[in-house]
Symmetry: C2
Subunit: 115 residues, 2 copies
């Protein structure tokens, strides 16, 4: 498991640093199954799959708790048995270290839900 | 409020009838703010807005409860203060009466959350 999960998000203000491309690649190595979707705004994305709807919604609620705790809110797309998560930092229109931290914590949450 | 909310979804099997276009237009008149997005598959869609994240997530959970009760699950896209709901019937790749019923019930749920 990544050391990222031991970190806490910092305040992300306008003008905060984007994670440089080279460092993004290094950080991705610590994350399983996450991709960087590059369009106007780079986003860290992953699909999580579940055996039933109750687990799907449980995951959504735990991600919501994390979001409030970190004061950082992802885009969450929910279908039966499937959650597509997108982390990025609105204020800087791209990837902040917070996004990598929250991606690692999302994986930890997923693993906490018995499949 | 629409009479749709008094109905319960029926089992939607392969080969069940799509709602004809003309009837779709009539049913839409009973729904506030819903649009039919027509691409490969027609979907009934609406964005709901909330004053905080707790209400946003409360709405998601109530929609999830409705989904389990009706055994009909929408695509739910969640951001801070915003939920985009998409109802359609996977088995018939389009709009069944169930989708209009669930749209009406979604509105009722939204109104139940104090803004």
């Amino acid at each position: 498991m990544s050391r990222l999960i031991e970190k806490k998000c910092t305040a992300c203000e306008l003008g905060a640093p984007l994670v440089p491309d080279e460092q993004q690649k290094d950080l991705l190595k610590d994350l399983e199954g996450w991709l960087i979707e590059r369009s106007d705004i780079s986003k860290l994305v992953k699909t999580f799959k579940f055996g039933d709807y109750a687990k799907t919604i449980k995951f959504v609620n735990l991600i919501a708790e994390l979001s409030e705790f970190e004061d950082h809110h992802p885009k969450i797309t929910v279908e039966w048995g499937k959650v597509y998560l997108e982390w990025w930092s609105h204020k800087i229109q791209g990837l902040h270290m917070n996004d990598f931290i929250c991606a690692a914590k999302s994986d930890e949450i997923f693993l906490s839900i018995e499949q």
